[in-house]
């Protein structure tokens, strides 16, 4: 941990609000990014973000420098993500499966060859994003957070293990299972994988 950061933490622990905000702003974009990819909704992501930093605010005085501050914050982030219940649960329940059945896809595949995207193609791209989003959201919480941290955020397996407070082997297991499940769910999209 950098000396400067340690000083800021100590100040924030004594109730210095400016130091606290400074501390937050070093990490908040990363936290929001994880939240966004985990819940896949901007309102829910803001809720997760807020909950993370309220917890940080409440428990900062208990931080004893036994781990990196970043690890501590991301551990809180993963905990909040794992227990977060979306206010809009229904959002991901829209059945898109039918739209991505192979027969329907054959035509669209050719439509995508053109460089410029027509409104229909834009729409299809959105649908694809939603479909992939649904697949990610359908993973178990631990598989999902592991996949988000590894695939989207690029953290090392060792770092993820620290955040989730488990062994590296366990992280690998979540990751393998996540990818295996995603491949099953994204099978209708194989036509795109060329």
């Amino acid at each position: 941990m950098e000396i400067a950061e340690k000083e800021i933490i100590l100040k924030a622990q004594k109730g210095d609000q400016v130091a606290f905000e400074q501390l937050i702003y070093n990490y908040d974009k990363a936290v929001l990014s994880i939240a966004m990819k985990f819940v896949r909704d901007s309102d829910d992501a803001k809720d997760v973000y807020q909950e993370v930093f309220i917890r940080v605010y409440r428990s900062l005085k208990n931080f004893e420098f036994r781990s990196e501050f970043s690890t501590w914050i991301f551990r809180i982030t993963t905990n909040v993500c794992l227990t977060y219940k979306s206010r809009k649960k229904e959002q991901f329940m829209v059945p898109l499966q039918e739209e991505f059945e192979e027969d329907n896809f054959q035509i669209r595949k050719f439509e995508l060859i053109s460089d410029e995207k027509s409104p229909e193609e834009e729409c299809l791209s959105k649908d694809l994003q939603n479909f992939i989003g649904n697949a990610v959201v359908s993973l178990s919480e631990r598989q999902r957070i592991t996949f988000v941290l590894k695939h989207y955020e690029g953290y090392k397996i060792r770092e993820i293990a620290e955040m989730l407070n488990c062994k590296e082997g366990t992280v690998k297991k979540y990751l393998f299972d996540a990818i295996k499940n995603l491949r099953k769910k994204l099978k209708p999209l194989e036509v795109y994988q060329t």
């Binding site: 908040d28 992501a45 973000y49 930093f53 309220i54 695939h151 989207y152 397996i157 393998f176």
Partner: protein
């Protein structure tokens, strides 16, 4: 090593998590294994597809919104801490400041003990034959109230009788309303009397004597009643009387506390009106207070409070 194990190595390799030794082993295997080469291609494609369609980057606007939302939540968090600590301070102050209130309580206790020692007190006393200090004369006093008579031994065969009763003496006190003892007693009663009617009367009596100045002890007692009394009628009378006192930080906290936490909408309205009046008299509210009022304006189910809060807030915009 099985194909399945190599498939896992492929995944780790794509994420750059493979040691040099295992990477070499994988490359060597891929050169000779068509199935695993296909697996590598499929994994690459699916990973690329997921990455290309994530569309979940955090933009600056979203970050700004999140920060704004968080600032509000933190302010509220701090205010709640302050409200709680103020409330705690009031309570501590009430119980820890020695001056008049405590003296009043002690003097009442002493009177009680004195009465008890003379007239058997409020405690249950078992009277036995030949008990020293207890005479027929003391039992016959007119102002001694006897209640809860219970017989322990009423068997007529041996001619003896044993019973218990509660005896208490009514204290009559007369003095000026500005007499500190009178004020101490009324303050003590508004806080401690078991009967809500008596608590209410204590407050009303102070209110009806306009010459009584609401000093710090009475004001603190009123704030405690406003924030803690179980009876809404008592809280309301205390709040009305509190309006007579000068507006300061402690009264403001009490009004905000009532506005945010009281279950009675009549009391919340009373508190809000007091804040509005204070504002008109030049006691402006700070940002934190306004945030609390905004919160209440948004969540209160009473339309009058919503409307009045918004009107008050408009003055600050």
């Amino acid at each position: 090593m099985s194909h399945n194990e190599f498939k896992q190595l492929i995944q780790l390799s794509l994420y750059g998590e493979l040691s040099e030794e295992k990477q070499k082993k994988l490359i060597s295997h891929l050169q000779n294994c068509e199935e695993c080469r296909m697996e590598l291609e499929q994994q690459k494609n699916i990973m690329k597809l997921i990455t290309d369609h994530k569309n979940l980057e955090v933009d600056e606007d979203l970050l700004k919104e999140a920060r704004l939302q968080l600032r509000r939540a933190l302010r509220q968090e701090r205010n709640e801490e302050v409200s709680f600590s103020s409330f705690k301070n009031y309570i501590l102050q009430f119980f820890s400041t020695p001056p008049r209130l405590a003296l009043g309580a002690i003097s009442i206790l002493i009177i009680g003990l004195a009465v008890g020692s003379i007239f058997l007190g409020r405690e249950r006393l078992i009277i036995k034959e030949h008990q020293p200090g207890f005479t027929n004369a003391s039992l016959m006093q007119n102002d001694l109230r006897v209640s809860n008579l219970q017989f322990i031994d009423s068997d007529p065969s041996d001619g003896e009788i044993e019973f218990t009763f509660n005896a208490e003496k009514q204290i009559h006190y007369k003095g000026s309303v500005n007499d500190p003892n009178v004020q101490n007693f009324l303050t003590y009663a508004m806080l401690n009397d078991q009967n809500p009617g008596s608590r209410l009367n204590s407050i009303n009596v102070i209110d009806s004597y306009k010459s009584v100045s609401l000093d710090k002890e009475i004001k603190n007692a009123l704030i405690t009643v406003v924030m803690t009394d179980k009876n809404p009628g008592v809280r309301r009378e205390a709040l009305k009387l509190l309006n007579r006192s000068s507006f300061d930080g402690s009264t403001k906290q009490a009004y905000l506390f009532v506005l945010l936490h009281d279950s009675s909408s009549a009391l919340r309205i009373e508190a809000l009106n007091s804040l509005i009046e204070a504002n008109k008299s030049g006691h402006s509210l700070d940002r934190n207070d306004l945030d609390l009022i905004i919160k209440q304006a948004n969540q209160d189910d009473n339309n009058y409070i919503k409307l009045k809060s918004k009107t008050l807030l408009e003055e600050y915009n």
